[in-house]
Amino acid sequence: MSAPTASVTTEPERRPEPAGRRRRGGLTDADGRRVPVWALVVRYLLLLVVLVLTVGPFVWQLSTSLKGSHEDIFSSPPKFLPSHPTLHNYTRVADTIPVWDYAWNSVKVAAANVVTNCVGSALAGYALARMRFKGRKAVSLVFVLAMLVPVEGLIIAQFTTMRELGLNNTLIGVLLPGAISSLNVLLMRNAFLSLPAEVEEAAFMDGANVWQRFLRIALPSVKGTLAVVAIFAFMGSWDDFLWPLIVLSDPSKFTLTIGLNYLHGTFANDERLVAAGTIIAVAPLIALFACLQRYFFSGVGEGAVKG
């Protein structure tokens, strides 16, 4: 079962189908296959069950964060809707910990991480895919090996390295180890490799130098993979917990994840506050994901992301 034959046989036949057959209505799915009503009902029921299991906890957290301090959040049976919804808890979080500063720290690190990963892995990926030079195989090997080494085993050495560089307890120190991940370099390399070489050869004949070929021709053709790299870089950085926990010791420098853990440790008695804090942390991500999910899922579907 090899990939080329599979994609050759499925792709051309599946694509035209949806547009043609979907309109015929009711009981065929988007691929044009007939679906019995009972199967459809069972499918939607199962989907709803999984929906409750996966999204329910977030909704419950949102509901808790909107409940006022006079409302019993421990009632049994549980009350799913706040009787008097209030945003009071959100202002109280900000009074308790500098949550907006923490969020801003996270934004700074995540934005820098996106830029460094996109630029660095596009450059290195292009060199590996499109340039011939002595040592190219060795460089590829370095990236592959680095990808295989588990980060969790490196944290102590990274911690001492950061101390030696004097970058402990700084946001730069949080950023650096993941600034250009080798997985992203290899993703970009594969994206560049899948471009046909002829276009670049033509540009070369027309006198375009390597920067022009890279910026004008190659880079615009791999936007999809670049978007995936950007999303992964943002989420990875925004979510990172272990490394910032180790490198940051000064509460004023905390990122949002570390700050939330701190909030939990300090004020575990008021779940409304913790809930409001977690919603502040997760809402931007869900919004971002909701906006980008179309690109995201298509990028994944192309097989651009594996592992």
Partner: protein, 325 residues
């Protein structure tokens, strides 16, 4: 690995190189052009690769080598330390905390991996058919992956709390309360459940990509021949996604062995009652960091983690090859 691989994934490289730039009999010309394009100024490829190489060498390869070296020293955070040979490893052997950590991390693999190999596949088959609204469900099922692990941990601590949602539901149903966050084993299994819950969506996507490559005609042909849904699953779907299952097993077993955040957040920084829920990475974090951190000892622990991870990968990949042959 290849059945799920559309163009662009690892392995596409060879395809691109052999048949990509060679259109109908123009091989010599194409090749010459390729070679001329390849002849850059000697420094420009290095200029392109430099930032990535620098970061990867400084923060992956150098730390790896220094971890191995440090594991043979008694280095502490503020004290350089001396060569002590295998003393750290001997101490590990007699350290109860190490065996507790190894037990918990191994148990994590044993429980989490089968669940993450099977459940996301079922989920992927559930969301595979493009019925109305399926995009919403796919995105919604992915939300736990998107949410950061700290948020997920805090949400579940609240759900599992003595007076939290799950217990009040249990009470309302007439069942008794369960002290999820007080018992050593329940704590660990709750952390595992959270890991599975958070991983479902991620591996669902991996399987969706694999399922998209299963030729539809095979299904239809099998259906014509009278094969039922289960038969079609076993004879058509399973063989097609088998290599993806191996990939998922490899990825999830390595991830499960290195678990930190879930257990740290649910069992607390000290790893539950009497530290009985500590995992290996938690132990590394606890012994190796801070101003009095035992860098040498924690490095020896890290080396053990490296070795186990490599062995896990080899085992899984070998299982793959055996079935191929």
């Amino acid at each position: 690995m290849s059945s799920s691989t559309a163009p662009g994934a690892i392995g596409a490289e060879t395809r691109g190189r052999t048949d990509g730039p060679v259109p109908r009999g123009e091989r010599p010309a194409g090749r010459r052009a390729g070679r001329r394009i390849g002849r850059n100024k000697w420094f420009s490829p290095w200029l392109f690769a430099a930032p990535g190489l620098l970061v990867v060498c400084a923060f992956s390869l150098y730390p790896f080598l220094s971890t191995v070296y440090n594991s043979f020293t008694d280095r502490r955070t503020l004290i350089p330390g001396h060569w002590v040979g295998f003393a750290n490893y001997r101490e590990l052997w007699h350290d109860d905390a190490f065996w507790t950590g190894l037990r918990n991390s191994a148990l994590y693999v044993v429980v989490v991996v089968p669940a993450l190999v099977v459940l996301p596949l079922l989920l992927a088959m559930l969301v595979q058919r493009r019925i109305p609204g399926i995009g919403f469900f796919r995105a919604a099922f992915y939300t736990p992956v998107v949410a950061s692990i700290v948020v997920v941990g805090l949400i579940w601590v609240w759900l599992l709390d003595d007076r939290g949602l799950i217990n009040s539901l249990l009470e309302a149903l007439g069942a008794g309360k369960v002290n999820f966050l007080g018992d050593q084993w329940l704590l660990l299994f709750c952390a595992m459940a959270v890991t599975i819950w958070k991983g479902l969506g991620y591996y669902m996507i991996v399987y969706l990509a694999a399922l998209a490559n299963v030729p539809q005609e095979l299904h239809e042909a099998a259906a014509m021949d009278g094969a039922g849904a289960i038969r079609r699953f076993v004879s058509v779907t399973m063989p097609a996604v088998r290599s993806t299952m191996v990939l998922v097993a490899a990825l999830s077993s390595v991830a499960a062995f290195k678990v930190f955040s879930e257990v740290y957040l649910i069992a607390g920084p000290n790893g539950g009652p009497a530290g009985e829920d500590t995992t290996l990475v938690m132990l590394v974090e606890r012994t190796g960091t801070g101003l009095s951190g035992r860098v040498g000892y924690a490095s020896a622990l890290s080396v053990v983690i490296f070795v186990v991870v490599v062995v896990l990968m080899l085992l899984v990949l070998r299982a793959d090859r055996k079935e191929d042959a």
